[in-house]
């Protein structure tokens, strides 16, 4: 243990602690910008400078480990002046379109300027204009607003191990960009949107569909249907001022009706459907000897990650479409037929906690209804802003249900929104499919929680089903490497790209804090507990769908509407071939 003095107060911390962390223990909040909990400190911005007695220069407290007997000062005239100057320099290079900025109400840079008492900017604006990167279907980067804190680079490389973003050039020319500046849309970016969560300003935002959706709603010739993902119901309230984790299912449905959507359904319905298909696929693969482990396919971030980095393992991924896409395919077939609507006049909108869903909806193969299965994807943040724009008093809305046909759901569906939830839901149904009985202990605790990787095993008919769950793509890699090396002991693996699962998706209210995400997740488990039906195969709307329309899981119609295929990306297979040719002696 190491004892030091910070602003005259003694504090004892373990070796390796930084000054910034040590100061926090005694409730001294050292101002900072590039530092962020959950990311490796980088020491880029210099805002967290402090003075160490006996040292000539100020030091960056976020990267400086404590030393025995150190005397630290965190706020004196010299420090305050330098911090202010650093911030002024940053601001001199920053656009001032705050009124119309995406982050006008939650800009960390603006807050810092206010907190540090910056009242004037003495420096002339000097930075060159930089073009926006609009190559991606999901995420827009605006380098004009970038403050070069490097948080996005760290989350993309260290947490997600995707490496789509990095610094390029040096000195005054330093920028954050993609490889060869080709743009996110032409990179390995999986659209997880974690970079949006960590960006202190509006340099990274989602590609918005708000205008398109307003237009569809106000078009009398269109019938606009909407579906909402599980994780939206525990975050939308938060985005509209309610405490984090508040469950707002009923208010959410009511608000969507008020916004003018013609039919309000629920993605949870198709989450149940996914379980029917995926559970059947698992059982089939176990019984008939398909590629194991089977890996879940609901997360489009993970799917694109696999297509880039594990093209050799694509046969392990379930062929099931994600709930969003299953829903989309049914909206323009099953629902259109039932309601006598021309599918050409149906506009299918989804509300998602996710930025990667925007990309998924645009994948060329996602039009098995004969039309684009999902036309527009809105994030939780976008729908919140539409609700605000329409002047809806969200907090005081009465609860309303979704349309039953494709809106009734089980507890198994709602936990899809949190890491481990898909696994738990699948096991509840797979157990029934294998044994013919319902799993008695329905709460499968070992797959819950926020540890990076969790494992469990379930006994069914004398057979042990071994499962694993990973969230955050860095964690997922560990399980994938096991499969690659042939040592994976599992039958079934759930992967969600975002830390925490969809509750921490790139479209959710901003925040990288895992505790906050856990709060949302716990709220989903609570909803599950309180629902009358907690197993996907017992959902009467699903039974009806199979009876009246689809036939049976994995049947011909299901195969056509609900299943998909994957594509190796970035010439990965090509490069492998080249390497093979090159490795042979000539």
């Amino acid at each position: 243990m190491i004892t030091l003095t910070i602003d005259g107060e003694e504090v004892t911390v373990s070796e390796g602690t930084t000054i910034l962390e040590a100061a926090r223990r005694i409730n001294i909040k050292i101002p900072h910008l590039c530092y962020m909990d959950g990311l490796v400190p980088h020491g880029a911005c210099g805002i967290c400078l402090v003075e160490v007695e006996g040292e000539r220069n100020l030091t960056r407290s976020c990267v400086r480990p404590v030393q025995q007997g150190m005397k630290v000062y965190t706020s004196n005239a010299k420090i305050r002046n330098i911090r202010k100057m650093l911030l002024e320099l940053l601001l001199s290079d920053h656009p001032t379109d705050c009124f119309t900025c995406d982050r006008s109400l939650n800009c960390e840079l603006k807050e810092l300027a206010s907190n540090l008492g910056v009242k004037t900017i003495r420096f002339e604006k000097s930075r060159n204009q930089r073009r926006k990167d609009e190559t991606s279907l999901a995420i827009i980067r605006n380098p004009e607003k970038c403050v070069l804190c490097g948080r996005c680079v760290r989350v993309c490389n260290d947490i997600q191990t995707v490496g789509a973003l990095d610094f390029a050039n040096r000195g005054a020319e330093l920028i954050v960009t993609t490889g060869l500046k080709k743009g996110l849309g032409n990179s390995e970016c999986v659209n997880c949107g974690q970079c949006i969560h960590v960006c202190p300003v509006a340099a990274i935002t989602e590609k918005k569909s708000i205008d398109d959706v307003w237009k569809a709603i106000s078009d009398p010739t269109k019938h606009v249907v909407v579906q909402e993902a599980p994780a939206v119901r525990v975050a939308l309230g938060e985005a509209l001022g309610l405490p984090p984790g508040t469950l707002v299912t009923g208010k959410m449905h009511a608000a969507l009706k008020k916004l003018g959507f013609d039919t309000v359904f629920d993605t949870n319905f198709s989450a149940d459907l996914t379980i029917m298909e995926e559970g059947s696929e698992l059982v089939k693969r176990i019984k008939e000897g398909g590629a194991l482990p089977l890996i879940t396919s609901c997360c489009p971030g993970w799917v694109k990650f696999a297509e880039h980095f594990y093209p050799d393992l694509l046969q392990h991924i379930s062929t099931c479409k994600s709930p969003q896409q299953m829903f989309g395919a049914l909206a323009k077939t099953y629902f259109a037929e039932r309601s006598g609507l021309n599918p050409a006049n149906i506009v299918s909108v989804s509300v998602m906690p996710c930025t990667a869903k925007k990309f998924e909806a645009q994948r060329p193969e996602m039009c098995s209804s004969g039309y684009r299965d999902v036309d527009y994807v809105l994030t939780t943040r976008e729908i919140a802003s539409m609700i605000k724009e329409a002047g809806i008093d969200f907090e005081n809305l009465p609860d309303e249900p979704a349309e039953k046909l494709m809106g009734y759901y089980s507890g198994a569906a709602t936990i899809f929104g949190v890491t481990g939830g898909v696994m738990e839901a699948a096991l509840r149904t797979a157990y029934k499919l294998i044994t013919g009985y319902d799993l008695e202990d329905i709460d499968i605790e070992p797959v819950r929680g926020m540890r990076g990787i969790r494992t469990a095993s379930v006994e069914a008919n004398g057979m042990t089903i071994r499962v694993a769950v990973a969230h955050g793509l860095g964690n997922a890699r560990k399980l994938l490497e096991e499969i690659r090396s042939g040592t994976s002991p599992y039958h079934f693996i759930e992967i969600m790209a975002c830390p925490g699962g969809c509750v921490g998706g790139g479209g959710q209210p901003l925040g990288f804090d895992i505790t906050l995400r856990n709060t949302r997740g716990r709220s989903l488990y609570k909803e599950d507990k309180n629902l009358p039906c907690r197993r996907s195969h017992q959902n009467p709307a699903i039974e009806k769908l199979y009876m009246e329309y689809l036939g049976e899981p994995l049947g011909e119609k299901s195969h056509h509407l609900l299943h998909t295929h994957y594509t190796p990306r970035n010439g990965a297979a090509d490069l492998n071939e080249i390497l093979e040719i090159c490795s042979k002696p000539i």
Binding site: N157, R170, L180, S583
Partner: protein, 170 residues
């Protein structure tokens, strides 16, 4: 051969067999340095020797073999002035923008090259004959403003002389 990477453009290398030879060469280079300190930089250096610049398919292969993201590789190569991702011309023009040359009109030379030859620092003419680098000092400030074309140095250059100077190079 149906590999799409062989369809990618590498300047100065026409046939797919030739490209494949380059890739095999590259593979050997990568194998030589794999695991050593500073491997990416050494490999980039050798790769640039091989092709004259760092074309995209070459970078993709290095990125794949070193298990290093393309953005990381780009980060490394843009840090050093030496590396270039655009092909160099047959003749490299260097225009000095050191203090003396700048004061004596180095910027005007750059402006003229841009206006009359559509040539910017880091760029190359359409016919591939000239590429332009901006440098900080050629070590003969008394002769400013100075430019160099290939190994020839020109002193006290006026923008109006550029056309004549460049017309000497075939």
């Amino acid at each position: 051969m149906t590999l799409s990477i062989l369809k990618e453009n590498i300047k100065g290398i026409e046939t797919e067999e030739e490209k494949l030879r380059i890739f095999c060469e590259l593979h050997k280079i990568i194998d030589t340095y794999r695991g050593t300190t500073g491997a990416p930089i050494r490999i980039l250096q050798k790769a640039q020797e091989l092709c004259g610049y760092l074309p995209e398919p070459v970078l993709m292969l290095i990125s794949k073999e070193l298990n290093l993201s393309l953005s990381k590789l780009y980060s490394i190569l843009t840090f050093y002035h030496f590396f270039t991702t655009v092909p160099k011309g047959k003749y490299v023009i260097q225009v000095c923008k050191g203090t003396a040359c700048y004061v004596k009109g180095g910027q005007k030379i750059l402006d003229t090259l841009k206006r009359d030859f559509n040539l910017e620092p880091g760029g190359i003419t359409e016919d591939g004959k000239f590429s332009l680098d901006m440098v900080r000092c050629l070590g003969c400030c008394g002769l400013s403003p100075v430019i160099a074309v290939g190994n020839d140095v020109y002193r006290k250059v006026k923008p109006s002389q550029l056309k004549d100077i460049l017309s000497k190079y075939k």
